[in-house]
Symmetry: C2
Amino acid sequence: MDNLNALDIFKALSNETRLNILKWLREPEKNFPAQQAHLPKEVSIEGGVCVGDIQEKVNLSQSTVSHYLSLMQKAGLLEAVRYGQWTYYRRNEVTLAKIAQFINEEI
Amino acid sequence: MDNLNALDIFKALSNETRLNILKWLREPEKNFPAQQAHLPKEVSIEGGVCVGDIQEKVNLSQSTVSHYLSLMQKAGLLEAVRYGQWTYYRRNEVTLAKIAQFINEEI
DNA sequence: TTGACATATCGAATTAAATCGATATAAGAT
DNA sequence: ATCTTATATCGATTTAATTCGATATGTCAA
C-alpha cells in the first residue's frame, strides 16, 4: 500500500466503530489494559494491539472486527505485524497525516 | 449545521464525483465557464455555481446531482445560496478546515 | 500429531447507498 | 393566469456495505 487511495480511506472512516478504533490506538496502554500481554519482554510492537483485545472492546463478532481491521489496513490507515498466532495492528501515522493534507490541499 | 458530524462528512467524501465537485469549486471560474451567468452584474455569490452548471459537468441525472449537493450541504461541506430560480452552491471552508484538523487531532 | 487458541476467509442475510425517471414546487416571463 | 425553466423530492431498482455464524488456516504446547 504505497500511494494514497482517498476513496478507500474515506470509506474506512465512514463508520463509528472504525473511527473509535483509530482513536483508541492513539493511546493503546490506556485503552487496552491487556495490551501486548502475549509478547515476551524483549519484543515490543510499538503502539500495536492484537485483534482479540480490540474485539473485546468493540463488542462485535470476531469476523466483523477482523474484516474491519483488514479493510483499514488495506486503506493504509493501519499497519499489521504478526507475532506468533497474534496479529498486532497499529496506526499508520504517515497515511493519517497525508489524508489530512489531502483535504487541505487537494479537495 | 453548526457542529461537525464526522461520519456524515466522511460518507459525503466517499464518492469520486462528490470529491471532484469539491475540487472544481476551488476554482469555479476555471472549471465552470458559464459560472454566474444568470446573476445580474451587481450580485455576486462568491465562489458559487448553480446546480445546472455542475450537473452538466458531472454527467449524472439532475436528481442525482441535486441529491449529492443537498447531502454535501447537510454534511456542512457546501453552502447553498438561492438566487431566484437558481441555487448556488459553494465550498464551506470552515468545515473543510475543521475536518482536516479533526483527523490530525481527534482520530 | 493432536488439540487448543488466534485470526482470516467464506457464504448468506440484512441494511444502506446510488441512481434513475417521474413528479412536485417555486420563480420568472409572457 | 399560464408556460417555461431550475431545483427538489418521491418511489423504485440496482449495487455495495454491514454483519453474522461456520469453517479454514496457522501457530504453539503437550
